[in-house]
Amino acid sequence: MHKLALTVMSLLTLQSLWSPAMSEGTPLVPNEDKMQSGILNGRATIKIVGPLHLSEGIVVMKDNEISVLSDATDSIREAELSGQLIHAHAVGDRPSRIIKGLAIFTGGYSIKALDGHGVNESIAVTDGSKYLGHIIDSSTNLLRIKTASGVIVVPIRNIAEISSPRAFEFSITANDEQPSASDSVASAQNRIAFDPTLNSDPNNISNYLHASTVHKQLSENHLKKRVLTTGLVVTGAAACIAVPFGCALFTQRPNR
């Protein structure tokens, strides 16, 4: 009885992680390599995302929205990274099924840590076009990229390839062996891995940039600001004396 309950729970957990899009109507066929895109819900543990190391990282996926949390006790609002999952599909048979796709991060506390210095992001579309610029926003169906010619909205279903320090190819190894009855532990047995779509420069100069930015602020002279402030103070002082004195000079002497 106990084994049966565990087996049912394992199936339910895996099923909760993956569900085909209801609008498409075609059931998932596990033997085919190319799967139709579906909607992902669930949790998985994560250790590394790009340059970020997370000792107890958790990834929460809800309706293809992804949030990376540093700690299981953090709320979604305090996510380190948040974004969208694109082209999620399952590969392989149970129990070694792997879920793959693309993840593009557009928000979160640590989003700026993913950015490379002077890197251009690109989106290749199914019709052969390619857009170069900076990805600014994403939603369930659309991606916005700011190019030299303005903001372009690209439907997600038309995206063939993304090359960006904020975009990653993800793969989730779903663990069917769920020894624990606790939801939070059982769901965290899934592991997600992120592979970058853009290889960053090994000679990363971001640390030097940070130091130089801070030192530059300290050595800034603000000459214009100081001249303006001094001028205002002197003018104010002169006005404090001159205005009442001037009024007194030009008013009629009181008769005594």
Partner: protein, 311 residues
Amino acid sequence: MIAAIFFAIASVQLCTASYADPEDLSETDIRVEKAQACLTCCLKPPSLQLAKELGLVELLLKLRTLSEHEKHKHGTAPLSSESTSLRQEIGEVVLTTMLQCQEVIAEIDGEISEADELKSAMGNKRDAAIKTNAIANIVTNGFITGVGTTLQEPFETFPNSRFELPGEIIEASGSFASAGLGGYALKQNAGVKLSGDIKPNMLAKVFKRPNDDETEYPDVIWRYLNATLPGTKVTRRQLLIQRWEELGRIPPQNTQKGRLYMRTLAGTIPQKNTITMNMLDDREAMLMDVKADVSQIYKELLNIMLVVRAL
């Protein structure tokens, strides 16, 4: 009679030799006796914990069964190859752990030095600003108020009181300006506020925030910080954070304000006008606390090596 006295003296010496005072034994000898009797009794609980973590307990037990302490101490006969190999293995593990500690301490020292340097530069800027404020205060409170007061004097050459009211107005303006500058000086006392990019430091992992390659802790050090203290249910890391909360360095971590300040201290969010002297003070103090905790590993390693020497 004389023979009896000699016999008595010899008996006393024999008795004292048979029942030697334990206080006469050296620390090393005491340790040797203890190690031969019970290895785990010889190691303090934190040292035993670390030895288990490093996988050294089995090696120490094997070394103890070889009972080659006298050979090792006097170097009279060559040690068995197994003993030599065990000692070498233990030495390598201890040395590697020491170097890993040094790596963490070096990184922390670098960050403390950087914070010190920034604080010094910010302090100089603050002092310059306060000096300017003092000069401005002299001008307003001294000069303007003085002019106002002078105008109120009943000059004999000016028999009317035309300048009395303007003098009072000027005096009042000087006083108000002085009060305003004084208030501004209080704000300047906090020092300048700087901005910076995301740059995680060694506090990031302690606060369970994202860190990078440079601020990563070696596994053994991280497990040591996350191990519960013997006899308690609190880990060293949790104890550190508790202490910082008690000292008021960080707001409670279960509040949003606390979590945001932890991110600021750890450098894991963009630092927009949040790099202040007070924040750098807190960061420096916390880094020193972490460094002190990590350095405790040396004591445990020394305890382990002393036991190795005793076996």
